[in-house]
Symmetry: D2
């Protein structure tokens, strides 16, 4: 039975020294039903969170510990967020469930997103370490899998790029409103999407004043897109997807080029407007208006726009979200709210910080 | 009598199409005791707020109106925020109080900050238009004038640069811990401090990838500093103050060079630590640590640091705040909370958005 | 007969207070065969260039004058660059040729780029003001029209977006290597491409930390693309083109999605490599590498890359250039060099400024 | 005897994979008297320069080698630039002179800047490894030591921060126009000044949208300032110096607060104007104008401005330069020109890239 609305859930964040970890802390510190009981950061164990992220200096938070030091049973956590690097997560989560079978986990890595473990092995280059858990994992795109998430114990939080492509495209694919064989997704991401590890190509001077595509033709997020698009279309869908890195901290913009199956671009717009009519975190702009990443910065909102191309039968669909919020930690909290029985929007009401 | 804590105060924001106006809307939309009842924007009258600031598209807000169209009595506002350009404000506020003598106003412009109307005339080049109101105006630096603000009907919200210099220096001047004749304030500001008016020198391409000083030797904020520093020191103080503009949206950093009156830099640190021990929105860092603007972005917090210079008897004091929050709209809401009897931190708990 | 290589050509720059104007001045000040004899800027007439662009303070330059004050015959200019806003140019150039029939002009605006004046009227909303000159105008994409340019008196310098799409695509269309019915061009531009006029949406705080598409489905540059692509393909081509604005000063990146006509992506690469083998200002990267705008910043170079998509039969082509150099003023100087008989690369050898 | 003006000097660049190394390559590739004969980068040995800095892809350059692999005698270099990290350089240069006693070296590190090896040991925490070479080293601030540099075999190229403080202050100290006991230097630097090493605090997301002071009270550059200021003043001078890091690639701005010794701020301006009247790379702005870093970007120019403070007897002096050009590699080439007998400005004529 979930905690009641007026109780506090005890929360653990594994990997609090990365950007999605700190974003979870930012959101959960102001969540009325959350108590941050445990923060891990293996290389910074023993330190205060403020040493790693000085913005938390005025806040009371538990000291950082290493994962190995945790007594999972004694910790008595109601929810565990796993914000660890891809590929290290499967083993950790296996240990969690071995110790506490009734645990609830939202994993922000890619480790449990692919239902097909053969596909996982192909894209990630090694066997899945927890195939039995994979079978129970629910893909945590709330607007699509809300009911399954409510009952889940392990939720695989979607990727930021993929959320920003799925939210605009899944309703259109389900409605068979666009040609699934001719989808081009051009995505532009801010730098926090690349994480906090110290790499030369992520230095300010390498990133500022420029833009470039990367992972062209073979980005790992494609597996996730294939899975969900194919499910939505009821047939195999392979979209063309190209990510770009650009000089901003937060934000993803997807510019998506589609061919309609006979309807007009207005019909696509109407389909999306209807699909998201009651969703608190997806806003469909008036026809012809395109979204800007800056208008969702720091919020859990996704903005979607549809415009007609001058080529008959073609339309352009845009989507913008904050990769650290709706693209990661905000969506993770949204999943937690469902899993623990809190109102879905709790702790996620913050309006975008613009300018 | 102020509204009770569980009631909603009816709020008007004059000048909602500028950055401090939109920041007020951002904060007040999530303030549990605020109801945004009136938004003005003369040049955009008749439009939706979302046409001016698309981030509000998902929110329910009153349509923008012109100031001339307002029936001040009928509006029944509990609080009026005035976020109009400097020098247009005195006349508008005069009209407000003429119509509704018991009105409560927080003015974010510089129009009521100088108690001495002769000083006002000297710095601003024209006579004060509402000298009788000036006599009732309270300078709204909460940490210094909290009690007066609680009883005020007209609060002059301090400037962003001046807040970022006064918070670190007033306690030191009051304690006679620094030489008032040798203060150098080097301030660096993000671009939102310059407002939203379309000027060539504020274009992205003119601002990006560079920094420069401006208003050297004669910036208007100096009058405000002179007034408050002199009051704190009990003698005339004229500090050297040089502002710079740099490529960031939000944030002011003051790097302040002082000579102690005999004590050590540690003594300065201890004085500040004690002064702000119970303040929710001022955080003094451990001795030797200097603040970064990014760690207060979007929050109402001010970070202060003290370090010793290698020159005996000298210290370096740093302060950082978000010019749109503690430097403008956040401080304005803090003032409102005091004036209407709400807990001072209500609606201002948001943690900084970093990265 | 052109001036000899060791002589100095007298140059006039109309519109020196804009970004393409100042970029012409930057390049021509160091061009061994150029003498900057005349600079105009109507609103700044009478001022020094250093008052408008302080980087020229150490240089000797003629004072800014208004266009109306020029004695075209007496000026004795060997070359006139016209860097005026779109739609004001036709009348000015008409006057020039009326006064000096043998004049040589490179026009950086869009006013003479469309050979079909009916098309011009449709896209620009008014009749062409100099149809007889339009017939003599040569489209100044050097790599495609080098020979015509050498004999031209009026060259219409191509647009920045269009140069960055034509250089990668024209060789492929000519070779019939790609399907002309399925071209998607997603372009990302720095802010100098939008010029120096003071508009709210170009302020630093509106642009920083974000990206958005604009002119979706109906950008004027499309007419130029249609004209040149159709010519290259020998049939009507209408490409899908979507421009984006992002926070950088200089640079355009085109990410182009194409379907091959049977060949492999490697074949596309080979076609481009061969086409540009001897071109000094187009560099084709090794197969699979994609260009970055930062690596051409400040230079006249275009970088092109080709990668295969994971979808059979599809490829991704990237192109990067500096919108103010190869996308405007550098290309204009390249045109001048041809028109006046100087070696094509003179004054354009500068290597990109990275970081 | 130096090479004649129409010959090519054979140049080696040690440390070509860093930012000052690549900047040397950029400048020397277009220097009419330079032939880049040797490029080293120990960790990238065997690779093409274009693999490390793609902007050089169109250029012909020697392949990167390791320092250990060099035959110093056989290489026959006329000039060696040493752009290695601080503290590794002394040993390398010792080897160079051991093998080739008549070699000429410009060292861009801090290793030979302090004439007093005791001072070196105190600031750098270890004994100097080449004290006998230190005695021959000339401090390479051209505007001050031009004659000594012409005869030098080992030149210690000044630091970027220190160049930007010395150029405005040395003439004033020499003229005894300012009080040497009350100098405050507030410096703001772009990120390339921190080099290309992959550190968390230099990631884009850590740097963008913020500013902070660092090394407060104990930055190593102070030793260099003390040495040169004391020499200029003829007495010990210890200035207060605080560096800041901010989101731009290139540029340093020094805002300097001084007290005159009785003269007016205009007198300071006149002193600087006279001192730099014939200098090609220092430009003194009209009185009251302050420099902007963006107006010297990519050029070897330093801009200096003087304004009066409103406090009697005080003035504000500003200086701006590009840390990679006049603050490092441009100044190094200027030194080379003097050492090899080329005209001092050769290869350094490029005008600033703004915007």
């Amino acid at each position: 039975m979930p905690p009641k609305v007026d109780t506090k859930a005890k929360i653990g964040v594994l990997g609090a020294s990365g950007y999605t970890g700190s974003e979870l802390v930012r959101l959960l510190l102001r969540h009325p039903n959350a108590e941050l009981a445990l923060l891990t950061a293996d290389r910074r164990a023993g330190q205060e969170m403020a040493a790693v992220f000085p913005q938390f200096a005025p806040c009371v938070l538990p000291r950082l510990v290493s994962i190995d030091s945790i007594d999972w049973v004694g910790a008595g956590l109601d929810m565990i967020f796993c914000a660890l690097p891809h590929a290290t997560t499967q083993k950790v989560i296996k240990q969690v469930f071995a110790a506490v079978p009734e645990a609830k986990v939202v994993d922000l890595s890619a480790d449990f997103r692919l239902a097909d473990i053969a596909s996982y092995a192909r894209w990630y280059g090694h066997e899945h370490h927890a195939p039995e858990l994979q079978r129970q994992a629910i893909y945590g795109l709330v607007e699509i899998y809300r009911d399954e998430i409510k009952r889940a114990h392990l939720v695989a939080n979607p990727g930021c790029y993929t959320t920003c492509a799925q939210l605009p495209l899944i309703p259109l694919l389900r409605a068979k409103a666009i040609d699934p064989g001719e989808i081009v997704i051009d995505a532009k991401s801010g730098m926090t999407g690349a994480g906090r590890s110290a790499k030369e190509e992520m230095l300010f001077s390498e990133v500022s004043e420029g833009i470039h595509a990367y992972g062209v033709g073979h980005h790992r997020h494609m597996a996730e897109l294939d899975q969900e698009f194919s499910k939505a279309a009821g047939r195999e869908v392979i979209a063309s997807f190209t990510p770009h890195l650009m000089p901003m901290n937060r934000g993803i913009l997807s510019t998506i080029y589609v061919r309609t199956t006979g309807g007009s671009p207005d019909d696509l717009h109407a389909t999306l407007l209807k699909f998201y009519a009651n969703e608190p975190f997806v806003h469909v702009l008036p026809f012809g208006q395109m979204p800007q990443t800056r208008h969702v910065r720091g919020s859990n909102m996704t903005f979607i726009g549809v415009a007609k191309d001058r080529i008959a039968g073609r339309a352009i669909v845009g989507a913008a979200l904050d990769n650290l919020v709706k693209g990661a930690s905000g969506q993770a909290v949204q999943n937690m709210n469902l899993m623990l029985g809190f109102p879905e929007t709790t702790g996620l009401e913050q309006i975008a910080l613009f300018p």
